[in-house]
């Protein structure tokens, strides 16, 4: 192989292309791992929320809050009924 001919071929490459090739590339795997970690974190938050969030009280037909349920502060009728009786 004639190295000078090879050199002729490659000597023509522009500086911009050389720099692009030499610049370290971002590791795609790192971004994938970050994405997986974010998804896992979301799933954990959702699971913890489902386990710890208080149950939403079911209102009975007469307007009183259901047994064992929490009184909703945005339901003054329910609160009054509970206080009265």
């Amino acid at each position: 192989m004639n190295e000078s001919r090879f050199d002729t071929l490659m000597r023509s490459v522009d500086d911009g292309l050389l720099e692009e090739a030499e610049t370290p590339r971002k590791n795609n795997r790192t971004w994938k791992m970050i994405a997986y970690a974010a998804v896992a974190a979301c799933v954990c938050v959702a699971a913890v929320g489902m386990l710890t969030h208080p149950k939403v009280p079911r209102r009975r037909a007469d307007g009183k809050p259901g047994a064992g349920g929490h009184r909703s502060p945005d339901n003054p009728a329910g609160l009054l009924a509970a206080a009265a009786g």
């Binding site: 071929l9 023509s12 030499e22 590339r25």
Partner: protein, 186 residues
């Protein structure tokens, strides 16, 4: 320091420019020269000479990319040294790359004819490389300009060796086809 600041230091003839270049790009120049020259002492000498050449040529030169500028000087010096040493020919990392590209280089031409086509070829090659997918272009330049091995490219580009190999194979074929189509030979 940023490259532009180093170039400015050199323009002001401030000797710290050479030290800054060595600190920032010494390893790169050593690696480039080391892929061409089997003797690390030769490679080290070429790397040192590259900074001296840069110091002497800036100004008047004002390189757009100091990194590429130094890399090119180091490579050219190493190739000159390789020619000088080639009385006892030894295989180097770049020799393998030479062999792979041989299929793209055909025909014997005399020097004036080659010189006349040099400008045309420069445009052709850079247009060809820019038209390639980014990964393929990077693998090609790392392999055939920087002389990196397949394993090194795969490692630094976070790709499998087979992917790099097949990409280089396809790019070489496209280069050959493009050269035939444009009726270009060197």
């Amino acid at each position: 320091l940023e490259d532009e600041q180093i170039v400015e230091l050199s323009f002001r003839r401030d000797g710290t420019a050479v030290k800054e270049m060595q600190d920032k790009y010494g390893r790169l120049c050593m690696e480039i020269a080391g892929r061409i020259l089997p003797d690390p002492r030769d490679a080290e000498e070429c790397a040192s000479d590259a900074f001296l050449h840069a110091w002497n040529s800036i100004p008047p030169e004002h390189p757009r990319s100091l990194k590429a500028y130094l890399a090119r000087i180091a490579r050219n010096l190493a190739l000159d040294r390789y020619d000088y040493n080639s009385a006892s020919r030894r295989s180097t990392a770049l020799t393998d790359a030479f062999e792979e590209l041989e299929g793209c280089i055909c025909g014997d031409k005399d020097e004036p004819e080659r010189a006349a086509e040099a400008g045309e070829f420069r445009t052709f090659l850079n247009d060809f490389l820019r038209a390639q997918p980014r990964d393929a272009r990077i693998y090609f330049i790392r392999r055939y300009w920087y002389g990196e091995g397949i394993g090194e490219i795969a490692c630094s580009c976070h790709a499998g060796e087979e992917k790099v190999k097949s990409s280089l194979f396809r790019t070489r074929n496209r280069l050959r086809e493009a050269m035939i189509k444009e009726n270009i030979s060197i």
